[in-house]
Structures are given as structure tokens and as C-alpha cells.
């Protein structure tokens, strides 16, 4: 018989998702054609612009690993951003604003988790529903108007630096490190793999999949709260439609990053690559100024090409 112990581990290169190849090609292309692309200021631009998406795509990775989805993220981001604006305007305190955003975000996340775990509603449906609710609430609390005049302390979050590194980048890096540690080095992270891979296994191990699932969605909501602070800081105002649709970008980043929608196979670094690829593409196209319609199609093409490359490689 075949020797039991001989299990071929994949070559590390095999794990590189198509998006990494695309990313390298894009960077090479833009370096050659777009003046200023490689400048420090521009690279910092790309990274800062990617921070909000990073903070959503990382928890989205966890959620997708549980064979879930969170379509409400963009709408919740919008709502938390408004909450940050409204509360910090009323109290003149950035921290209270952040607290409000976190609270509302986590509440929505918990509701998502509750709908999915306890009521057993498919994640797509549950979060499509809460998307509508968050969007509606955004319109209602703001009456469709921008919220302006928020204190400077909020805005400074986005524009100040720490040891020469823009604060949003620091926040994104810390977030990445936290998620990395959480997923790969904690028991909770182990259970996230099990939530998607084999939920029964958790139950037999005496753990409550439902509570874990709610926690995962709640983390997603809370991250939308933190990202809401960044978003408000970035616009120096709250706006009732600002974040709509960003969840699809997050999902696309996760998908091209090599996380599959089945069986709990997730990869955080891939998600980060996906986010950066989207950022580089948008930035580079702005710099070389192709027609805007090309830009519209570009992210779609990125997704298709990256996954096409993945498909080619997995078949080879």
C-alpha cells in the first residue's frame, strides 16, 4: 500500500493567488507608464485609500470563512459614520463618537449574527435585510442631509501621522496584526475554521457554534464602526450614502485573495493583497488618465482575470 505518511504538501508558491500575479503586473505597468506612481507620496496615497476597505475586508474574510456573507457592511459603515459625526458633533468628543459608532456597528453585527445563527436565515438574505434597515436608518437619522461641523479631533485621525506613518495606515496595520493573531493563533480563530469547515465538529466538541457565529458577525459590525470613524474623519462630515456598495469591493477582495466560499478555507494575507490590488488599479488608472468608462470596467476585469488565473493554476 501507499505509505500513509507521504502526503504531498503544496509548494509554497502554489498558494500565491492570481491576484498577486495581477498585482505585480499592475505595479510594473504603472511604474513604467504613470509618472509619479512610484513616488513615496503616491504609494502612501494608495495605502491610505485602502485602509477603510482593509478594515472591512478582514472581518469579511472571517465571515466568508463561516460560509457566510455580510452585505450590510457598506450600509452599516454609512450608519456608523453618521453616528460618529452626530455624536461627536453633539458632545465635541471624538472618543464618544467612536464609542457610538462601535456600539451601533456591533449592534448591527450582533443582529446579523442572531438572524443567521439563531433564526437560521441564510446570511445573504439576513444581511440584505439589515442592509435595507441600516440604509433606511441612515436616511432617517440624517433626514438625507450631510452632517457637518464635527470637531477637529475627528478629522485629525485621518490626516495626522505617527512616527511619520499616516495614522490610518497604522490603524490598518494594527488591525491586520490583530486579525492575523486572532485567526491563526487563538482558539477562537481555530473555531472560525470549524464554523465553515464542519460545524458539527464544534458541537461535538462541546462548543456553541451559534455564539461563535454571532461573535464573528459582531466583529464585522464593530470593525464597520471603527472604519466609520475613519470615513467620517476623511470626509470631515457624515453623509447618508457615502459607504453604500463598499461591501461588494470587500467581498471581491476576499474572493480574489484566495478565500473560498466553502468549507472554511480563508487566507488573510490574500485578502490584503486583494485590497491593495484594487487600490493600485484605481490609483494607477487615475494617474494615466484613461477614459473613465475603462475605470468603471477595471475592477470587474481585475476580479475576473484574477480568478481566471486561479482557475488555470488549480487545474494544472
Amino acid at each position: 500500500m501507499r505509505e500513509a505518511a507521504v502526503v504531498s504538501q503544496p509548494h509554497p508558491l502554489q498558494r500565491i493567488p492570481g491576484v498577486a500575479i495581477v498585482l505585480v503586473v499592475l505595479i510594473a505597468l504603472f511604474s513604467a507608464t504613470a509618472p509619479g506612481f512610484l513616488s513615496g507620496a503616491n504609494l502612501s496615497n494608495v495605502l491610505v485609500q485602502s485602509t477603510i476597505l482593509t478594515m472591512l475586508a478582514l472581518p469579511m474574510t472571517l465571515i466568508i470563512m463561516t460560509e457566510g456573507l455580510d452585505l450590510s457592511m457598506g450600509a452599516v459603515l454609512t450608519l456608523t459614520s453618521l453616528c460618529v459625526a452626530i455624536v461627536s458633533l453633539a458632545t465635541q468628543s471624538m472618543l464618544l463618537g467612536l464609542g457610538a459608532g462601535l456600539l451601533v456597528g456591533a449592534a448591527f453585527g450582533t443582529v446579523n449574527g442572531w438572524l443567521v445563527a439563531i433564526l437560521g436565515i441564510p446570511p445573504f438574505v439576513a444581511t440584505l435585510g439589515t442592509l435595507g434597515m441600516a440604509q433606511g436608518l441612515s436616511l432617517i437619522v440624517s433626514d438625507g442631509q450631510s452632517v457637518v461641523g464635527i470637531p477637529h479631533s475627528v478629522r485629525d485621525i485621518y490626516s495626522s501621522t505617527l512616527l511619520g506613518v499616516p495614522v490610518p495606515i497604522v490603524m490598518a496595520l494594527v488591525t491586520y496584526a490583530a486579525f492575523h493573531g486572532l485567526l491563526y493563533h487563538t482558539r477562537f480563530g481555530t473555531y472560525i475554521f470549524a464554523l465553515g469547515g464542519n460545524r458539527e465538529a464544534l458541537r461535538y466538541a462541546g462548543l456553541s457554534p451559534n455564539r461563535l457565529l454571532i461573535a464573528v458577525y459582531a466583529i464585522g459590525g464593530a470593525m464597520a464602526g471603527i472604519a466609520g470613524l475613519l470615513m467620517t474623519a476623511r470626509m470631515n462630515s457624515g453623509h447618508p450614502t457615502a459607504g453604500l456598495g463598499i461591501e461588494f469591493d470587500a467581498i471581491a477582495a476576499v474572493a480574489v485573495g484566495g478565500t473560498s466560499f466553502e468549507r472554511g478555507n480563508g487566507w488573510l494575507l490574500g485578502t490584503l493583497l486583494g485590497v491593495i490590488a484594487v487600490g493600485v488599479l484605481r490609483n494607477g488608472l487615475n494617474l494615466i488618465s484613461l477614459p473613465s468608462s475603462v475605470q468603471v470596467a477595471s475592477v470587474g476585469l481585475l476580479v475576473i482575470v484574477a480568478l481566471f488565473l486561479d482557475g488555470l493554476r488549480s487545474r494544472a
Binding site: R2, A4, S8, Y191, N198, E200, L202, Y204
Partner: protein, 508 residues
Amino acid sequence: MSTAAMPLDASSATPLLELRGISKAFPGVKALDEVSFAIYPGEVHMLLGENGAGKSSLMKVLCGAYSADAGEFAYKGEKVAISSTADAQKLGIAVIFQEFSLVPYLDIAQNIFLGREPKGRIPGTIDRRKILADARRVLATIGFDIDPSTIVEKLGVAQQQMVEIAKAISQNARILVMDEPTAALSDRETELLFALIARLKAEGVSIVYISHRMAEVFALGDRITVLRDGRRIDGVRPADVTPDQLVRMMVGRNVDMTYPRHFADRPGEVLLSVKDLTSPTGISDINIEVRRGEIVGLCGLVGSGRSEVARAIFGADPVTSGEIIFDGKSISGAPDVAARRGIALIPESRKSEGLALLRSVGDNLVVAALRKLFPSGLFDQRSAQRTSNNLIRQLRIATPSARQTVGLLSGGNQQKVVIGKWLAAGSKLFIFDEPTRGIDIGAKSEIFALIDRLVAEGAAALMISSEQIEICHVCDRAYVMREGRIAGHLTRSELTEENIVRLGMHHA
């Protein structure tokens, strides 16, 4: 295999764990009906019964995965409650489930200690070094030599079963439940497992063992409990019964376990002829011939490539070179072409490849025969219903109705549905990949009788089975595979277990 400890006298000791009057109903099915069941320290307790008799259900109640509708538990004579898996674990109950409970993208060590990870220095983290060391130790005790940081997804079925065993062992359980643990194991691993069982028993661990294999029952068992239709029929000792008596208890009637066949005097014309077939899945230069009226065996060790041959013939895997001639004409391409030409594949994994688990029994039964039953392309629910009801009757599938969701049937009955769907399609060549895996003795003989009838009527069968004795009983002749190639051919008179093993082994 000889076992060290003598069976305990049931009357002389208090049971370690006792279940009294357990009942459990599912919609439309009374899975358990006032079943009582006692486990004594250090015994191997065999649990037997037909498919759907309630064995797995009883064990799920025992380990807290299902809550019983009625009944009570006593641990060492004292009443206890088992309402969750955590309760059961506290009592030292561990289970090797019939369906795998592994997480694909975690490594072996994480799977073994899921929910019991050693704590690292930072709260919430895992002590990686300790978990690997612990896993290595557990794997060593069951004689499974593998790197514990291997991702489970990459393992074969047998290896996964070994991890499953390691996981249960690692809980240092006092009661270990094994639900058909050898169904996916090869001989070597089976031997390892039996040795392990002997060792555990010597340490005083009680083992509940569910199996459909008679040989195992007599080799391992200290005591036997038989279930039928959710009721406990009897408790006996192996020494006091014959296999035939046991089967009678399980099935309620006599079953001939030699699977009588009407061997044809003269084989018919060639139906399938495979020439120099090579495929990227690792098989090469396969030459096989199957004639009408024949059952041809395809044997070999697990991993020798039997399934791959079956899949390549059916068009489920691509073919690199070689030719498949079916019914006089060359055939190539996809499963739909093969199916339309009259080839049927009963795949080895019924859950992932054979059934739409959430659909009804009826829907699953007609799915392969749509084109044949409704040549006009127009589907008629009534006539589909009639066909499926006929099949349910013919195959004695235990289901409340054709409308029942197929995933709620017991494993054996699910297997019957997989076979049934190809009967409706009127195929000429049936390729069976482990058709009796997880099927009870009664059903097994029914299925073999069915295959016999099919080939007597002019069809042919190619049968893969890991149970050599079945091949010997029912096949006209057999090919033996080794490492992706045909290692030899055995005629009816040469067809013995020794010969199969000899040809199938390395450097024979």
C-alpha cells in the same frame, strides 16, 4: 484475533453506564423505541442492526448530540443527565462518528484537540508546541505515522478515519463509541485499530462498536446487542450464537450470506472493452473487458486506483490516452454521454457524489432516468411518483414516503437510493464502487440478488469492493490493481482471498 480480558458477567457488576427506556422520534420515524442498553467496564460491546435500526441514533443520544424524547441515564448506578455533548464528555464518553467530524482546513493536531486546545501564555492563544507534541504522542499510540501539522483536507479517507480515531482516543475516554470505524480503512489500518482496541480494553476502557461486518463481531465482541426497527431485540454473547442466528435477530428472517448466483455457462458478447487507458488521476495502461451477463470484480488495496478506473470509464475524469469501447462503439467524453449510452456509475461517496441530500427520495430516484422515462422532454410528476414508489418497494427502502428528504434516511437506505436511480435509467453496464459500504447484511444480499438479476437479464457489472470475500462470492472473474495498474487477472476458479491479496500487495 484473541482478546485479553474475559467478558464480564453482566450480573456481577454494576454497569458503567446504563440507558433505560430511551425513545427518540423524528418526523415520520420512530428511531428509538424504549431501548435499554448497558455498558460494563472494560468490555467491547457490539451494537448490531439493519440500516436504519437506530444504532447511530442511540449513540448520538448516548453522547448528548441528540436529546432523547424519553428515558434516563445511570452512571455507575446513579442517575445522571446527558443533555449536551459537554455532559457526555464529563462522563468520559468519546465517539468516533460514522460521518466525519473533522475540519478540513485545520491541521491534524488542531482537529484532535478541537475545543481542548492547550492554552498559550497570552490568554486565548494556543500553545502551538504543546499541541503538536501532544498530537504526535496520540498518533503514535494508534500507530499512525504522520506529521500532525498536516492539513486534514489533504488526507485520504483512511487517513481521516485514523485522525478521527486519534481524536477520540486523546480524550482518555472511559467509554469509546465507534460507529463503523473500519468502513473506510484498509487491512493494515484495521489491524492497527484492532490492536488498539485490545490495548484499551486491557486498560479498562469500555468500547461500543457498531459494524455490519460479521467477522469483526466475532473477533472483537464481548457482548452483542441487536436493534431492529428502533427496538432492542436481544443481548447475547458471541459464544452463544452463530452468525446465522445473529442475522436472523437483526433482519427477522433467514439470509443466505453466501450470496448465491446464477453463473452463466457461456459469457455473452463483449460489452465494455478498455484498451491501454491512462488518465491524469494516476492510472495507466488499464486493459479491462466486461461481457454481458458477467459480474467482473475490480480489487486491490485502498488507493490502488480502482475508483479512478471507474470514473475514467464513466467519463467523470479526463483520459490522457487509450480507448474505451462500449457496445461496439468507441466512447469518450462526459458522464452524460456515458449515461445515455447505458453506463451507470454508483460512486463511492454517496453523500457528496450520489445524492441530493435535501431533495426527496423520489426526486433522487428518477434523476438519472429522466430522459428514459420522459422521452418527449415533458416531465410528469405522477408517472415519476409511480416509478419511485416501485423502486422503493423493489429495493425495500425504509422511508415513510417518496416525499421524505433523502438525507434523513439511514446510511444503508441512502445507498439503496443511489443504486435505485440507475435501475430506473435502464443501464446496460453497472459500475459499482463499494456498493455495500455501510450496508447491512440483509440489504447486502438483496443488492447482490438484484445485481445477479440484472446481469441475468443481459446487463453486466463491474464491481469494486474492499471486502474480498464479497468479490469471491459474486464475481465471475476479477482484475486486481496495484499502484494504478492492472496487476493481474483471476478467473472464477482462481478467485480466492489469498490470490487477491497476493496480487494486490507490493513486490508480491
